[in-house]
Symmetry: D2
């Protein structure tokens, strides 16, 4: 078994890692780390409010009993030599400092954006750009690390790039225009989205989000040439909003393809797309990377976010678009805290274990 | 005073007409009509549930006391000779039959879509395309009516076309891509949107809506030439969704202009745009047709829908867009049941009274 | 295998029966019936909207593939001789007419209230008042039926009476005061609760609900004496409201016991209560009839409604009450469409199969 | 004009004070204070997020232009000699320290609970217990202050005690059992209620709330005898929950009266109750302290919270209760951030100005 540490284990993403790794066939959680406040306590104690007795467990799934008595270490002082891999579930600012320290010795798979845009850092989605893992060898060499850092994409990028991949491969892409309607869980809990602000409302701005989606999508669809990734050469513009939904980002996509294609061509390309057969055999991989609905009332976040355990991207309403050259349009729903966060990171770990990057 | 009949007076749009006309300086409600079920009863009785005593009044504003004792006529048998104008708040199917009967003798201003796409029927928004009222003379002549039918646009069209107007006039338009996040009130109450379906959800399809927005926007921005309107010649593509908001449609707009322009040019054109001075003096007209925010967290439907009594369209996040030629993008909020419904229709009546079409 | 017909199979409760009976070890669905509109069509066709292609499937669980090709019969003409049991998921008015017709030949288990208050009709909750099934023999005899009708309680009654049972048994009850905060799914879909009405709101009245809860609770806790049930002799008063929750009724209970008892006594009585061992072995029975939380922020409908597959009632905040004699107070959450509807009815069927009433 | 300082002016309650005092006929805001972080800045600057340009204005009403350029002082160092009254909108912990410092020289009207339970401190609601203002003279004397501290009640207490007052006066009270369904705004914004937690949910616990309601209700209905207030002698028990509503607390009340009375008696007593005529003439007073509905679907928080500008308490569903001695039950809606917070405090100031306590 691969031994894993969860850094940021008491937060919402850390807890999602615990759920994603419960009963995992290849990986077991053997170390937990969090901020100084939690350090030195048992996990259960660390997430229990002393005054009210309330447990600060944020996932829909029940608390993971296996780790309740595990001690929580101070993340800034953690020695990673007793684990084989580090899952980092911390904010970008501390990630900037802590992840390189861990990567000196061990592979780090991160949900933070701190290193996503560095040239020698891939943003991996198994089945979409698995071959980008080769950049990790460049990174190890250039940074002199035994380990490496590999972040997953922003949760809004994930669904978009997964659905664009078969279009890009089969018909080429000129341009993409996207408007997102994102779930509250993407904002986390500190401070997160207040009920007062989102009830009966749409919030039209998520700071930094649009820039992330634009850069990451081009990088993930880019090609690995020699020692780095050349971003894909198509234009991308988006507007990201927040709606009163718990989980599951909805995205309205308009795309211009290079080759002419009709609605059926796009639907077929998406349905046939499954990544290489190796990726779909990974333990956390969805049976179908993309599920395409005919019912025009789908996808809906509440009905479709949990498809294939939250790892599939669900598409509907594929139509011709009259504005863009060779234009098509569709909607997608992607589970922002499953494929778009901890479970997506576990899937990356599985790919890297299979391919010998982690052992 | 102009005497008005409200047809469909017991429904939600009919009640919005009653609110919009309460204490109106030029128009008074002197007749009410509804379906056979309500005919022959006092208005209060017609909207009160006999078994529970509950009043079926659907507006946020309090019930309009002035009409509570007014008798409700059967819409299919109503004689319009005692009024000067008919406001029609009925569904499209009955509108198709009843509105022409009324228009033989009297002007009909309608929220229904039944006649919107006929060549001799304008879709008026005072201050945007007031000059299209001249089509009404063509209509009268060709149909041999003393009155006429003039529908207002779909509620989703209204905000879009109002914000596009100053762009179109100043810089020209090549193309528009829009994704809407529409409020539940747009769906009415029969059956309307179930709480079960919209809670924690986005519904990605509103039957017929996208086609309406596309046709109406081009028609409203079109030019009146001789005896009919030539639709404006730019491409338009949209995706319309429903979100868990009571009132106020939010729209994410991407537009390609003919002339180059920057963000400040667009903001200035919108701010300076006010329709001609005559329109802004109409009793129901907003002080500003468009309000532009600098705060990137605006517009929000709950905070901005009631701007200028729900008659202004509120815009924010004007930015350059990298995908479209001379691309810009922004968000807007428009009150779908004020400017987008009964109050918008009352504003049309005011324009036509001022210009001598109704007397 | 016991062969079952679902009457009202296309509605929301009917679909919940299909989900509850999928892969059931003892019962298989062999017949479906609905209104004349659906009769003669395959089930899939009957629940698919012809114009849009949308499937009218209302459960969170995926559509039950096994019945998609099954023909739908006209409920008013159904011959029940080919099945062993009828599950009735129809409204009270048609139930009044149809259920006695079915009961002439076959046992009918119903979610409708039509016969709940008849003297020879028990309202069964296995583990709470299983012994009331003996009333069915009285019913058969007095009505001259081979079958019988046995309804389940109202969904709001279920959670209340389950939590009162161990209190009543151990300490006796003088009086109960209850305020409910009920989920929207309890109102069904025709017309159900409009999003417009419930967003940012509480609706303080559910017609008929309070009377049902009061009568049913006393009847269920009553004693079977000779040939009929004597209602339990304690006072009960409630106020039932609707809140913006999808599933799971929350109830705030204040109770006066006959014997003095403290908080720990009540918690222990609830925890130890499990119905007789036979009942907890039934296939659909919860592992624990009642789950008691120490965390004062529980129970919450979203977190607790699915406990033991929606069949457990979850209790928290047990405290002393200063107003009532020997007063205690607590909150409960009960899944109104699992234990409170179809799954609760299936549990009744299991009890009656085990005890030889159905074969 | 009475000159007022707002302490805690940048928070949500402070902003509600600014709205409540805009264009006030007797009181003008001449000083603002907040925490050290805001001190020394203009108000507009203090509530504007430097990085995004977003304005942190939390009220539905537009920002109060009159104070935008006013300097914000450091609350811990504020000299109150330039104002005639201090409105305190801070949390209880700092209130414990700061309010006595202000009260040495000036009257302090507070929304904090810090001093509510002190014997020489009244909890005033004009029209309910105006005569308790005489305790302020005791307070001044015993503490040697020129000013005084007078807090308003908890927002949940306000609606309950206002509706109990006419019952208590006319029929006497033995006992009250209450379950509240409280709005999110009662929890403020730091941290407030997360959208993630309240969507599709009810939260069954509000720490400290139930104890406050119980003590305050008895104190407010108590009698002033000699130098202190004797709490009213009836039992009170409540359960306080949070629901997904922005503003407006709903309370389900069950009460036992000393004298027998029927539903009409209670409704009449509430309708006739209006406080003394002097109180109803105060500028912020509601026209009716209590509004009673016959429609069983009222009160609803969204429809009734703004009655009489949020200063009336709205009652409905008055019925007999079978459990309590001389039992009656009803529901009420009260605006927790109007009558229950800043506007309620302004109303207290008006009473004390009229009666010569403030000048």
């Amino acid at each position: 078994m691969i031994r894993a540490a969860i850094v940021g284990a008491t937060g919402i993403v850390g807890q999602q890692f615990l759920v994603a790794l419960k009963d995992h066939p290849w990986i077991e959680v053997t170390a937990l780390a969090a901020s100084e406040r939690s350090a030195g306590r048992r996990y259960k104690q660390a997430i229990t409010d002393a005054s009210s007795g309330a447990m600060r467990w944020f996932c829909e799934e029940p608390p993971v009993e296996e780790v309740m008595e595990m001690p929580v270490q101070n993340a800034t002082e953690m020695n990673v030599s007793t684990v084989d891999i580090v899952f980092s579930a911390i904010e970008s600012a501390p990630a900037k400092i802590l992840e390189p320290k861990f990567a000196v010795d061990r592979p780090v798979i991160s949900t933070a954006s701190a290193f996503r845009y560095d040239d020698d850092v891939p943003i991996l989605i198994p089945g979409i750009n698995s071959e980008h893992s080769r950049v990790l060898q460049v990174q190890r060499k250039s940074r002199g690390w035994k380990g490496f850092i590999t972040p997953i994409p922003n949760c809004t990028t994930a669904g978009l790039v997964i659905t664009l991949k078969p279009i890009y491969e089969t018909f080429g892409l000129n341009a993409v225009v996207m408007t997102s309607m994102q779930a509250m869980s993407g904002a986390g809990r500190s401070p997160g989205v207040l009920g007062l602000d989102i009830l009966d409302n749409v919030i039209p701005f998520i700071p930094g989000e649009e820039e992330k989606v634009q850069r990451e999508t081009q990088k993930i669809l880019g090609s690995f040439e020699g020692s780095s990734i050349s971003p894909a050469k198509f234009d991308l513009s988006c507007t990201c909003t927040r709606v009163n939904v718990r989980e599951g980002h909805t995205e309205s996509v308009f795309a211009s393809t290079q080759k002419t294609c009709d609605v059926e061509d796009i639907a077929r390309a998406m349905r046939e797309f499954a990544g290489s057969s190796e990726e779909t055999n990974l333990p956390s991989a969805p049976k179908h990377m993309i599920i395409v609905h005919e019912d025009p009332f789908r996808p809906q976040p509440r009905l479709d976010r949990d498809a294939d355990n939250g790892m599939a991207t669900v598409v509907g309403r594929i139509r011709k678009d009259a504005v863009l050259e060779n234009g098509i349009k569709y909607l997608l729903v992607s589970h922002n805290t499953k494929m778009g966060a901890a479970k997506g990171a576990v899937l990356v770990a599985e790919l890297l274990i299979r391919d010998g990057y982690i052992s």
